[in-house]
């Protein structure tokens, strides 16, 4: 049984079919990239997989459970327990320190544990920046805090939306390296990106266009290491 399965999923806004009969499977521990230009339906798919929206038609099975028709309250619980989110814009609470931002995810999930949160920051190399506010951190550092926050509750899927979209090459390498480590530890990764270099790092890349998957590429030389095409 796949960890995540989309069966004939459509999302319709009036006359617009943002997703049109999409099928997809993601296995446990897999690293999948979803590529596509603006307006291709990437964000809609992110919202549906991330349990922030429900499809108009079709089924979304997460760990065998159909989450396509659940209430808002149940969506919140699934999001909290099973999904770790990483955004392009970083999105940290600006008046909380890096450590407190990580602990916030623990707070909503179970019980805040300062030691564990600090260890998560150590994993992303930010132990010495733990008590800094987001405004005192660089973009790369903020995204690493987001990675630490996404991991803190051991989610079944880490869903990253353009995680390196706002980063320079050095920070992009650091973040992608973190993803590689997560993958090695068995975390399932779904990365939405428009960057071919980021997509090529994944085991499998799916191309989304006008609400359909138009291409699927399997990376036979998968190493998890990003390569830049100069």
């Amino acid at each position: 049984m796949s960890l995540l399965e989309l069966k004939d999923v459509s999302k319709i806004y009036g006359d617009l079919h943002a997703l049109d009969h999409v099928n997809m499977k993601v296995e446990k521990g897999e690293w999948v990239a979803i590529m596509g230009p603006s307006g291709s339906g990437k964000s809609t798919m992110m919202n549906i997989i991330g349990c922030m929206d429900t499809p108009t038609e079709g089924q979304v099975l997460l760990d065998g459970r159909d989450i396509s028709k659940v209430s808002k309250k149940e969506q919140t619980i699934i999001r909290r327990d099973k999904i770790g989110l990483i955004f392009q814009q970083f999105y940290l609470v600006n008046y909380l320190t890096a450590l407190e931002n990580v602990m916030t995810a623990q707070y909503y999930h179970s019980v805040p544990d300062e030691k564990e949160a600090m260890e998560a920051l150590e994993r992303v190399g930010l132990a010495d920046r733990a008590h800094h506010l987001p405004s005192q951190l660089s973009g790369g550092e903020q995204q690493r805090v987001c990675v630490a926050r996404a991991l803190i509750n051991y989610p079944e899927i880490v869903l990253a939306d353009e995680p390196t979209g706002n980063l320079d090459e050095a920070n992009e390498t650091i973040v992608m390296d973190l993803f590689r480590q997560l993958h090695e530890q068995g975390t399932t990764l779904i990365v939405v990106t428009h960057d071919p270099e980021v997509a090529q790092t994944a085991q499998r890349a799916l191309v989304l266009r006008d609400g359909h998957f138009t291409k699927e590429t399997v990376n036979n030389n998968f190493t998890g290491v990003i390569h830049y095409n100069d």
Binding site: S43, R79, T104, Y107, H109, P112, D113, R149
Partner: protein, 410 residues
């Protein structure tokens, strides 16, 4: 770390690290709390302050004899009914007809200190008598006899039996309280005067009494001097009491005196007691009204600030929801911030309110105010309730924020 600790860490961080944005809300809560605590202090202190003020207009209770007079002991018993901290002054009076330069004048024997305390509006040119042989002369009497401060004066008393024991005449004169009323007595006794032995006593005028009232037609001496002059101790004709209490309490005291001492009849001086009560009621209603208006304005200000806060923090709310926060958690956090804001504002407001009340009290009553410790928790609780209530509608809007909002990057 417990969830509760993390909750307080988050809401206090929001207030402390976003202080520049929360300052307006804090300021409005603090000002509201200041007005609230200040006016409540005044509300409760006004009766005391007004009581003190009204006591300047004289006694608000008189104790009269059921028959001719009552003893000093009964006067003391009546006085003892009133708690010491409520009794501003007690002035016993004994009245007798005496003569100066062969004309009759009404003399009052009293306890000068008691008279001074219970009638603070009496204006004395010179000094109050402080010992034997000293006399306080009403302005009308002083003008009639050309008496001045420091001058000696001889006061004569003719024992009653000489007049044939006509008690009725004397009592009438006392109640009339006018020197003119004794002119008939003077005429009748003129021929007999030479046959009798008058009691004479030399006094020195220490002060001229100016009240604008009937008191100006009396002369005042100590009770001992009057006893010496008349040759008898006599009883008291009236005991005037000045008490700091509201009308209901005064009535209770009067009843207690009437029960405790059966020779006297205690009555309220209705005019003073009633006007005191009317002014107090109106003033307290005004204070209450202003407090309600200020609290309503504070609520509007807090509600406006909280609405702006929720709009400004839409992204953060969406993010928290994306991380798994329920609507209830978000409401609790924002409500927690509002209530904490109320508590801090309430604390600051209570302190400022005391100084506000002190300023008002000094300005209006020229009296300092008493700090009521109970007001601190009451004001803080009221501020918390006001901010909590004012935050309810803006905070409800957080439930409508969609977490997908954050992912779309809008």
């Amino acid at each position: 770390m417990t969830k509760k600790k993390m909750f307080f860490r988050m809401i206090s961080a929001s207030l402390v690290r976003r202080r520049s944005r929360m300052l307006i809300a804090l300021l409005s809560v603090a000002i509201g709390a200041m007005i609230l605590s200040g006016l409540v202090t005044i509300y409760y202190d006004v009766p005391r302050q007004m009581g003190t003020q009204f006591r300047r207009y004289g006694s608000n209770m008189i104790v009269l004899p059921k028959e001719e007079s009552f003893s000093m002991e009964d006067g003391e018993k009546a006085k003892a009914v009133i708690p010491e901290d409520s009794l501003v002054g007690a002035a016993p009076y004994r009245y007798e007809n005496v003569r100066i330069n062969q004309t009759t004048v009404l003399a009052a024997g009293t306890d000068m200190e008691g008279a001074k305390a219970s009638s603070p509006y009496w204006n004395v040119d010179g000094k109050w008598p402080s010992g034997s042989g000293q006399l306080l002369v009403g302005k009308e009497v002083a003008e009639k006899y050309g008496l001045k401060v420091g001058e000696p004066v001889t006061v004569t008393y003719t024992p009653e039996e000489v007049y044939g024991g006509d008690d009725g005449t004397e009592t009438e004169d006392v109640s009339d309280a006018a020197g003119a009323a004794s002119s008939e007595t003077e005429a009748e006794s003129e021929t007999e005067e030479e046959m009798i032995l008058d009691n004479e006593m030399d006094f020195q005028v220490t002060g001229i009494l100016d009240t604008g009232g009937s008191e100006e037609s009396y002369i005042y001496m100590s009770l001992d001097d009057l006893a010496q002059l008349t040759g008898e101790d006599g009883g008291l004709d009236i005991l005037e009491l000045s008490i700091t209490a509201q009308q209901d309490q005064l009535s209770e005291y009067a009843d207690q005196i009437n029960e405790a001492v059966d020779t006297v009849n205690a009555r309220l001086v209705k005019r003073v007691a009633q006007s005191e009560g009317t002014v107090l009621t109106k003033l307290q209603a005004l204070v209450l009204l202003v407090t309600i208006v200020v609290l309503a304005l504070t609520m509007i200000c807090v509600a406006t600030t909280m609405t702006a806060t929720v709009t400004e923090r839409k992204m953060e709310i969406g993010l928290r929801k994306a991380l798994g926060a329920s609507d209830q958690s978000i409401i609790q956090e924002f409500m927690g911030e509002g209530i904490l804001l109320g508590a801090i504002g309430g604390l600051i407001g209570t302190v400022l309110g005391f100084f506000f009340a002190q300023g008002v009290s000094m300005g209006v009553f020229n009296n300092s105010i008493v700090f009521r410790p109970l007001l601190l928790p009451i004001t803080i609780a009221a501020s918390m309730a006001v901010t909590g209530l004012a935050s309810m509608i803006p905070i409800r809007a957080t439930t409508k924020i969609d977490p997908a909002f954050v992912l779309k990057g809008e």
